[in-house]
């Protein structure tokens, strides 16, 4: 009923926008990363033609990112922080999502609202809240000293003194990452668990499986897409995070790969190196991005078919 040209025509402005302000900017990063540096002004001179690419900065960056290089510490730290944070997020998030989807009953709507509220509170506001709480005289610091947890943490080597939570402790950064990103994991987990057909669980129970076996062999496999999707969804921004460590620690001892990039763009002398690290990071994250996009694509197809 509509003319053939209508729908591509309607999509055109948006597609052009994304080409101009998403694709071309990304090529700008590549151009700068493979370009040269003006020896006098120390400003990047991008190389737009791949035939003119200068591989010097990129190979230097790759060497620095490899074991023994100056960024290797940040690389291992980033991977370590992301993996520990993901594990903690799942450990806390899965029971919460499970309870809301399965057992919340009349409190379900209230819990869903509470679950969604953090989405709409600025991330930096939520970090600011913890900076206040973990200040040497803050509520959380005093509480943890009171129950003796601070001494335990000092004993375990997690913090250097019992009030020094914001002085470059990895444990603070990891907890901040968990606090910051966990809502984005719980929601897809909840959606996946909520979608599971109750009759599968009844069938499993009728066939004699214990609740634990039902969970292990029915619920867990059926929520696999939610787990993977949620983990990828929060791992991607965590790998590029620099503001969380800066807010709650701002010490070199907790610097992540995002901080290395940020240093070269805010105050650092060499945007070319920053661009080269960005290219390497993107190349690494493309696998995760691809998985997530494939999952969205499949969900959209299902929605379109239904």
């Amino acid at each position: 009923m509509y003319p053939r040209w209508l729908w591509p025509g309607v999509a055109l402005p948006g597609v052009v926008w994304l080409i101009l302000l998403f694709l071309i900017p990304f090529y700008a990063v590549i151009g700068v990363a493979f370009g040269t540096v003006n020896p006098l002004l120390q400003t990047p001179v991008p190389a737009w033609n791949p035939l003119d690419w200068n591989l010097g900065w990129m190979s230097q960056t790759l060497n620095n990112l490899a074991p023994g290089g100056i960024y290797w510490g940040a690389v291992t730290r980033t991977v370590e922080y992301v993996i520990i944070s993901l594990a903690l997020c799942l450990l806390i998030g899965y029971p919460v999502a499970y309870y809301i989807a399965r057992h919340a009953g009349r409190t379900k709507n209230l819990l869903l609202i509470l679950l969604i509220i953090p989405f709409w509170i600025s991330y930096l506001m939520r970090m600011l809240a913890w900076v206040n709480l973990l200040d040497p005289s803050g509520y959380a610091t005093r509480f943890m000293s009171f129950i003796g947890f601070s001494n335990l943490a000092v004993h375990l080597g997690l913090i250097t003194s019992d009030t020094n939570w914001l002085g470059g402790a990895s444990v603070t950064v990891i907890l901040a990452l968990v606090y910051g990103y966990i809502p984005y994991l719980i929601l897809p987990l909840y959606a996946a668990l909520d979608r599971i057909d109750k009759s599968h669980l009844e069938a499993s129970r009728d066939l004699g499986a214990s609740p634990w076996k039902t969970f292990l062999h029915v619920t867990l496999p059926l929520s696999k897409t939610g787990i993977l999707g949620g983990c990828v969804l929060i791992a991607l921004p965590m790998f590029g995070d620099y503001y969380t460590p800066n807010m709650v620690s701002s010490a070199p001892s907790t610097s992540m790969i995002g901080n290395q990039i940020d240093l070269y763009f805010h105050g650092g002398p060499q945007p070319t190196i920053g661009a080269a690290i960005t290219v390497v990071l993107s190349a690494f994250l493309v696998i995760l991005m691809g998985y997530y996009m494939w999952a969205i694509h499949r969900a959209t197809k299902e929605a379109a078919a239904s």
């Binding site: 998403f22 969604i116 953090p118 959380a140 807010m247 996009m293």
Partner: protein, 308 residues
Amino acid sequence: MTTATAAAAKPEFTLWQRLSGWVMNPWGRPRFLPLITWLYMAWSIIPVLIAIQFSFNDSRSRTVWAGFSTRWYWGDPNDSVWHNTQLRDALYQSLKLAAADVVVAVPLGVLLALGLARWRGHGSGPSNFLMLFPLVTPEIVMGVSLFLVFTHIFTFIHPSTTAQILGHITFSVSFVVVIVRGRLFSIGRQYEEAAADLGATPAQALRLVLFPLLVPAIVASAAITFAISIDDFVISQYLSCGASCTTVPIFIYSSTRAAPLPNTNAIASIMVVFTLVAVGLGYLFYRIFTRGESREGGMTGEMAGFEL
């Protein structure tokens, strides 16, 4: 045979056995799950409430309570949000970016959603693919790439308020597309086909049938665009031109690392109110416009900004 029924049949069980039966009973109501859930909820909300509390503190401390006051909102002649030009400008800049973002990103996203949902031909696959990219790209990668494009290719724009607006539109368009496209799928094409059967021209079918049906999704995406623009930090920071481009998140970031006063908490609290009001109004309008429709899935997924 489960422990609970056994305990009920034989009341001479010891206290310990009854207790362990109560705790371990696999068929009973879960005991630990609600505990973990409510602890999580408290943990996720209370720190923010305490931060809001200290925005009303009557001293310069953000950690020691000295009584209730509104000095950091308007009382203090130098450092309150109302009187301090730096804070007021940051608030104004955030609102300006969010308003401009909504005005451009919503129409652009609605059109793109319509086009991508219905265009079947060469180029529709890659375009769909391209639309999803901004949703999964880490913000620092987008920030770096927009910064470099405005300093090396589109140099006539250079980092500025305009650049910040363009950046915000670029990352919000895909959110609008996802929300509107979800709505397009759920309403289907039968209403427009019925309109055409009854003699409507394509233009009339679009204007009188499809557009009113899309209004709820348009309102929802406007609210979400406003909220994500106000909360954005990385893109605004990378495209900032210095003091006159400072938004509220940038202010929070830089003042937290210096020596912050409760006025940082005050301006952050104001932003929380703005975002929650925008999203709340969006949700309310969505409910009003979709009254009488079967509510499947509803707004929870859409209000969260993504669907998976």
